[in-house]
Symmetry: C2
Subunit: 428 residues, 2 copies
């Protein structure tokens, strides 16, 4: 099949998938989960070849060690993936959920229901675990799928794709999950705005920006994760230390890691200094903004306050109030995740209600911004867009809605003529 045929076939197979019963879709997902377990040996053998090749590429400097580290699968990982698919299978049916029902007029009833989006194009790098996760989310939500994995995981992705699509029979067509490999395939797919409904790039900021700049198809994702922790004047010292260190150190490369620490000027001496000290002790290089530079002339200046370090570096800035912290976040942030540490309920709520980001936390680490931790089962990505889906995106973000109206021969003419009247009675 050509790339275009792959996408068109995914749409057709997706529509057939939507027409199945819940039991049929759920059974197909359980077969997929079982197939991962049953074919573990074959999958791990193919994966081992990718891992060996990647190691050679790392040694020759053609692949980053971090990318190679994300490649290996294990029997335990396959078991976890299977369990994840089963839990997605057993969650409530997402399709056809009635959002509201309105009686428009006597005998004329409108329902707004959830429906599948259509065809998703998901582009992911190295980590082959993503393939079964994404495939199960797409299937659960009735969507056709075209996947493009990283070339370093080509054999792993190929075998995972084969195992999963074989398990779909007999009810679901294997066409529902297409797999493409090359960069030129992607370029072609990004042109198909009449076939593909949503692109989800999972990978580096550079990948996301490249996709956003090269397609008219809506893109769900985030290029930047410039997350802030604001330590208020009434913050508890131990809590501030705990949250600041966890937000920065738990996984510095993650998009939900803290990049800028805002400290209320009133607690700089009593608390700010020890936060900076604790970060430095943990191996973090601290850069200062213009205000913090006034109190710590010894520290290097941050070249920008809108920067995602993604490693053991952080920017620290002083603010004079919660309003100033919010203003700083609105000016320099990327709308991903921000946290306040405070014992003042009023200030906490002001921050949470005013900060215009996907995730706004009170007294909790920014690292909680994650589909699994949020209880969404799994996530296809985190969106910093305000359109369609925002924050960690699970099955819900892969749905749209449909209006279904059922009448008994109704026409609008009698309403225009004043012979009939709308009731607009909310039924559900």
């Amino acid at each position: 099949m050509t790339v275009v045929q792959t996408a068109v076939a995914a749409r057709r197979a997706g529509r057939a998938l939507q027409a199945l019963t819940t039991d049929q879709r759920v059974a197909a997902l359980h077969r997929m989960a079982q197939a991962l377990v049953d074919n573990a040996e074959h999958i791990l053998a193919e994966n081992a070849l990718d891992v060996a090749d990647a190691q050679a590429l790392v040694e020759s400097g053609e692949l980053a060690q971090a990318s190679a580290d994300r490649l290996p699968l294990t029997e335990a990982k396959l078991g976890t993936l299977a369990a994840g698919i089963r839990s997605i299978a057993d969650a409530d049916e997402p399709l056809g959920r009635v959002i509201h029902t309105t009686e428009l007029a006597d005998g004329l009833v409108l329902r707004k229901e959830t429906a599948a989006l259509g065809v998703l194009l998901i582009i992911f790098e190295s980590r082959p675990d993503a393939l079964p996760q994404i495939a199960s989310l797409a299937l659960r939500s009735g969507n056709g799928l075209v996947l493009k994995g990283g070339k370093e995981a080509r054999r792993s992705n190929t075998v995972l794709h084969a195992v999963l699509t074989q398990a779909l029979a007999p009810d679901v067509s294997a066409d529902v999950i297409g797999l493409v490999h090359s960069r030129s395939d992607i370029a072609e797919l990004l042109e198909l705005d009449d076939v593909i409904d949503l692109v989800i790039p999972r990978g580096s900021n550079a990948l996301v920006r490249h996709i956003q700049a090269n397609t008219r198809i809506p893109v769900l994702g985030h290029a930047d994760g410039i997350c802030h922790v604001y330590v208020d004047e009434s913050a508890d010292t131990a809590m501030a230390l705990r949250i600041v260190l966890d937000s920065k150190l738990d996984y510095p490369a993650a998009c939900n890691a803290m990049e800028t620490l805002l400290i209320h000027r009133a607690v700089w001496a009593s608390l700010g200094e020890s936060l900076v000290g604790a970060l430095e002790s943990a191996g973090v290089t601290v850069f200062v903004g213009p205000e913090a530079a006034g109190v710590r002339t010894d520290l290097p200046r941050a070249s920008s306050l809108a920067f995602e370090y993604g490693d053991l570096r952080v920017a620290v800035e002083l603010v004079d109030s919660v309003e100033a912290a919010i203003e700083h976040i609105h000016t320099y942030g990327s709308g991903h995740t921000e946290a306040i540490v405070t014992n003042n309920t009023q200030t906490a709520l002001q921050f949470q209600n005013t900060v215009d980001s996907a995730c706004v936390f009170i007294n909790a680490s920014t690292r909680f911004a994650d589909g699994y931790r949020f209880g969404l089962g799994a996530e296809v990505g985190i969106s910093t867009s305000r359109i369609h889906a925002r924050g960690p995106v699970g099955v819900e973000g892969l749905l749209t809605t449909r209006f279904k109206l059922t009448g008994t021969g109704d026409t609008v003419a009698p309403f225009s003529a004043g012979e009939r009247a709308f009731t607009h009675r909310k039924l559900v």
Copy 2:
């Protein structure tokens, strides 16, 4: 203010609007409604000047009569607009509505709430009534707004904008609703994908296509409205006639008017011929598709089955089954609105559950696809996109969501270490 300053000011004022209480936002809307009534004389005087100029332009051939027809305001229209704003004001608060609440772990509670989108750019043609409608929907949903009206309604829009924004004081800044006039302003605004969150073009297909092709900002709207009525083999004759005529004739220029009539081959002789006859009697020119051409060689062939006539023309095609009708719609439709006429419940549900359009109707005219008729209060437009909002869009489509997490100093490290466990208990 420059155009960019107008948009930035709208974002700032929108954020301030979101921070107000419900009562404050509702009071501002009621002041807007009252201002339309109180300033009727002034508004109508300015409108009369636009109408006079437009008539001159029509006579010199520079403006379409249809555009000129949409210009006039009356005291009664202003009263209706005021009533509409009051009903939007008195509807349930759309912001901060809790979608779900989950206990992630002991003492760690996540809420997903509705939030304002941010800044909307709405581009509309001639009809000045749109300005107060859109302004009230945007205000109700906490959004900043930049409006661009048609140049033929410039004086009407200017006075409406002045009257409405003056009524916003003291709680809401007048900056929350910006108004621009020129085409070059639009080009500049379409570049501002970091300030404007959503563009809604209301106007001709050409306008919508132009906007879609010239911005990276998400566009909500529809370029095409190729709506189908499928008359099934078990359709009631009188009902079929009524729905077909209403769908085509009630307002042929509307996007929800029928463009293609699909007829089951089995009822061509008994019903199809009379439907065609009734359409022709009503002044409709009937074109035939390849199959219908076989039974009506005398009628002109439709040059395309994916065509929006938007006037007293229609395409008619024969199909052999409901499946074939669905296939036809998926091939040639625009995903707007489709209706089936049938007395067979099974067939009706098959059609409604399978057709992949924003609105799918059983035994009702396609003309019901409208925000007012759907009971949404008013609409900012009809979306054929599957992303974000689909079908007629009211206040709900102008919202996004925000995740709010409240903890007591929680960090993710203890969860990774197995010292704490997620409960993921659904609270609401």
